[in-house]
Chain length 267, copies 3
């Protein structure tokens, strides 16, 4: 039984690009289960893709091969990487897309630059496109890995991935300072502040407003902001029945300051 393969892209559903990835994989690994993780990553938004990959891979069995294709540099000299971390394999452009997931899974166990065309579409027999490396390189390579091809056959070893680490939170006198790392399609603003640090009764400062930490969306008044631990185990700023991104003017990178009860009592 070959490993399962997941696909995360910014291709959308309006063309047949995703279907074609499935076809390419089917030809190489006919028994592999292929699962669509998400294909509506905002176009070329590498960080959004990195966030979705980091928060999703862990719900799949070890051994799964995760393909990420958010690739503004396709056709340029950017590298394609295949990385093993925490028993999972990640394949995609080495532009930061894979870095958060690999670190979250425990760090790189093995990583290679994908360079040998014998594992690409057509097996190296002909030229490949300049615009669709997902079809021509990443999907075929992932399919080969799912059937048991060792990473070191794909290309030379590399020591590290490009891209920033998942941002860490900082202790300040005013509280624990984090930042928005992802805005979902409802306008919920997910921060890097971990679940363990937030308790009901705390509040956060974001977009110039003090916002109470609640146990669930249902505890807030419609139209009012709240902070709540989301399904990824991270504190997020939301507006009940509304968009926090819009109402509070929040974006990825903006600061979120978590102030415990003690802080506020001292203030």
């Amino acid at each position: 039984m070959p490993a399962a393969i997941t696909l995360l892209t910014d291709f959308g559903h309006g063309d047949a690009y995703v279907g074609v990835l499935h076809g390419v994989i089917l030809q190489i690994a006919p028994d592999a289960r292929v699962i669509d993780l998400c294909h509506e990553v905002p176009p070329q938004d590498v960080q959004a893709g990195a966030f979705l990959l980091m928060t999703s891979y862990k719900y799949f069995p070890k051994g799964t091969v995760h393909v990420g294709i958010v690739d503004p540099g396709v056709g340029t000299q950017r590298r394609i990487a295949a990385v093993r971390a925490g028993g999972h394999t990640f394949v995609g452009p080495d532009n930061g897309l894979l870095a958060w997931a690999a670190a979250d899974a425990g760090g790189i166990e093995e990583a290679v630059a994908v360079e040998r065309p014998e594992y690409w579409l057509g097996g190296g027999a002909g030229p490949i496109s300049r615009t669709f490396h997902g079809r021509d390189i990443m999907a075929p390579v992932a399919a080969h890995v799912a059937t048991g091809v060792a990473l070191d056959r794909l290309g030379p070893s590399i020591n590290a991935l490009m891209g920033e680490l998942f941002p860490s939170v900082t202790k300040t006198t005013a509280g624990l300072a984090g930042e928005i790392v992802y805005v979902d399609r409802f306008g919920n603003c997910v921060s890097n502040l971990p679940k363990a640090r937030a308790r009901p009764g705390d509040s956060v400062l974001a977009g110039g407003q003090e916002i109470p930490v609640r146990n669930a969306y249902g505890e807030a008044t419609p139209g009012h902001p709240l902070a709540v631990v989301g399904s990824a185990g991270l504190l997020e700023v939301a507006v009940a029945n509304g968009s926090a991104a819009q109402q509070l003017g929040l974006r990825v990178g903006d600061t979120v300051l978590l102030r415990g009860q003690r802080c506020r009592r001292m203030a």
Copy 2:
């Protein structure tokens, strides 16, 4: 061979929530076929979800496990149910989402409240989220059922599901009175009036207009309303190349009066 599993949610495709459901199921029931029924149910529109489930489950083999997740009450005390009806199993919040399908399938054969965490994500070893019971409870439970776990192991028996019955039609002196039960994304307004009652030559009264019953969309003049038996075997009000919901101001719950030829002759 485990049973097939279908998924119907209001998660949309913009995040990786649907993909994660597949991962969770894959870990518990690696051989189960998992089919996406629909993930674009309008957010929190329980009735739309109930309608889609009722009109779709019957095209799947008996034994299939259908998971429905349209769950505005997630994190509150609402119950999660698992129900067997007509040889199908339905799993979801007990908020009306499952009721129409279960009744349509012949009524409840067995129903339980899903309460035992040994069949949830992590097998009851740790806490689960307050915001994503689809991932943490419903998908794992469905996967266990697909592999053969009996419903009575999931929690205590219950006698009935919450929620209204599919509305029945009423005979009146003016004709057969039904109502709009679903509006699709094209603005077609599906009523509860069954196929057997409508014949070409009949007309319906909806939104203050008299509308002819036709055999097919193609029989109407573009821009003009018609009533036609749709693929679910129910009479729907449509506008050829247009939106009946918009043009006639129709919504779920509005009355549709079917007037046979005899009625009109008498009028």
Copy 3:
């Protein structure tokens, strides 16, 4: 092992129509792999569907059954066809949807009109809908073919498919004249001009502008038009970070004139 089945439709994802196709196939061919090629073909845009099918089928194994459902004539007397070409089977309305793919695959090896209801939903036992032949005829027929039913059991042989051929390019004194055959959701305008004819240094005339041929999107200034060989091996007119369709006012059918370096030198 039955053949794989791909599905291409204009159903969108807002209803459960696609899920129901999967259910119908699952009942007839439980072991067949079913892959969603695309379900967001613009409603009733047969040519867009034909283009996506022609450029996608070849990435699947021979033996695959490709179902295309873009069917404005459903319920009328239009024919449903099943066609074998290049080792692939195509099933769909005979309205041009299948013609480009069949020709691209090498031409029709065998073709039939789908007429025998024993291979339809319900096996011919009862009436079928007038509005959903995808569910009631095409999906069941494709599932039967995937399990090994011969085409000649589906209905009488036919000699040709309806619909235009993929347009050919024309040599003119001004250059090679092609036309726009597909506009993708980003506004990229794909022509019928083949890869082999375009070299960097060439230019195209489209929408009244002279546009340089480049190797990759990245070589153009944002906001400026370029022509580039796309992933289907055809020259397309694009605007870096923009919509060529909108900015240049291009549509399907518009002329694109490829002028080689020699042409321009002579001019």
